[in-house]
Symmetry: C2
Subunit: 232 residues, 2 copies
DNA sequence: TGACCCCAAAGGTATGACTTATTCAAGCCA
DNA sequence: TGGCTTGAATAAGTCATACCTTTGGGGTCA
């Protein structure tokens, strides 16, 4: 997944530095300076800058240099930007944003999936619901996480909407981040697991409204656990 | 907005060619060939390719070349990818995807906005609702579109969620595409305009549930007009 | 048949020369 | 004084070329 080559390394260094605020908005990076700092050639610097520019993290102008853009300009849907922000100081804000996005998207995706899911989808979803139940009871958080990610990714894929499907990674990152940061109880709440079973059943029964309702319960519950006060 | 420079021109040429399927999945582009075809230097080709690679439209490998990726790999949230697809053969699929995304996001955004909107937001939203009513009645579709885009963008911004806010352009593109392609009745449906007024009122009254309900009415209605049969 | 090796092909990197746009300031005119 | 023109400095943009590195594929040999 990681971009290879020197420009990839540069990108992996500059990107997080910008999204974390270490290089603040308005900073000016000059090519020559970057060449010297990283000991690479113009070619490499230019390619990395071009990619950052496509993400709207920076903007280069002649005679001025490459300016770090204000955060409102950033392409916050770019997978790399999301990952960098989740790994850095912005983690909290990013998790809240994604939480709201989940609230919006996942219930609708579940509703659509109920109308489109194949028999295979249904089987896999049911199996995952069982796994979730088992691993929640045994307290195996790692396995629970793995199945939880698979469950949500499957629903998003089964929705038949490519944009929803592409949010699977981001949703997975949220779930993973929650577990990594010990924001999960040692045994996942039973009500949440029950809701997952409900989603699976509703999808298999092609009951879109029920699937949507159950999924809405899951995501709103998740956000409340994360930030009880401020649901933005 | 458009990226300047030769690499920008290359990008603006290759991007649409790929998203439209003119250059099909699996095609291999060699740098040398692109240099010749566009009469530009290695530098320029490489920078353009690097950006396309960041969008996951292509992947380059040594000894092989730059391969066009399958559409499932594309970063479908990238603003440029969205624009290119809307402008090309994929227009229909892209509009349906975005329609579903609107159904998911806009009601939630309206609900959040009700809890966060400032007095200024409220004033502007109410003013836009009035404009919508007037221009709908007079049949001035161009002005109606302009205010409609402003209305939805404002709600998304007022939601306080940066990811929602960034969808404003995409939503605007959907609305614009609808008008451009004569998919609108000459006089926008009165029920839709009434729902816009309801959203404005609910947001001003800080009634999140009502705002969400009214907005849901708008977006589901919009999608049904667009594709009565298949709401994916 | 299969394992191994070698080479050519294509991208990756480095570098120097040159071009072009843009800012900033000095100078000029009103 | 104030605004306008002009010119020089600067940093990005482009080009051409040379060389490095990886890797797929074909050929060889056991």
């Amino acid at each position: 997944m990681e971009i290879q080559g020197l420009h990839g390394r540069l990108l992996a260094d500059l990107g997080p530095a910008i999204t974390s605020g270490e290089i603040p908005e308005g900073s000016v990076l000059r090519s020559e300076e970057l060449e010297a700092r990283y000991g690479v050639s113009r070619t490499v610097v230019r390619e990395a800058v071009r990619v950052l520019e496509a993400m709207r993290l920076v903007a280069s102008r002649r005679r001025v240099g490459t300016t770090v853009q204000p955060r409102e300009a950033w392409d916050v849907f770019d997978p790399l930007v999301i990952r960098w922000r989740l790994a850095g100081a912005d983690r909290g804000a990013q998790l809240r944003s994604l939480g709201a996005l989940r609230i919006a998207v996942e219930p609708v995706a579940a509703g659509l999936a109920a109308g489109l899911a194949t028999a295979d989808h249904c089987r896999e979803l049911s199996a995952l619901a069982v796994e979730l139940t088992v691993t929640a009871r045994s307290g195996d958080l790692r396995a629970f996480l793995r199945h939880d990610m698979a469950f949500h990714a499957l629903v998003l894929r089964a929705s038949g909407n490519e944009m929803f499907a592409h949010l699977a990674d981001a949703v997975g990152a949220v779930l993973a981040g929650r577990t990594e940061h010990e924001l999960m109880p040692h045994h996942p709440a039973e009500y949440a697991v029950a809701l997952h079973r409900e989603v699976a059943e509703a999808v298999c029964a092609q009951d879109g409204a029920a699937a949507e309702r159950a999924m809405r319960g899951i995501v709103t519950g998740a956000l409340e656990e994360l930030a009880p006060s401020d649901p933005v």
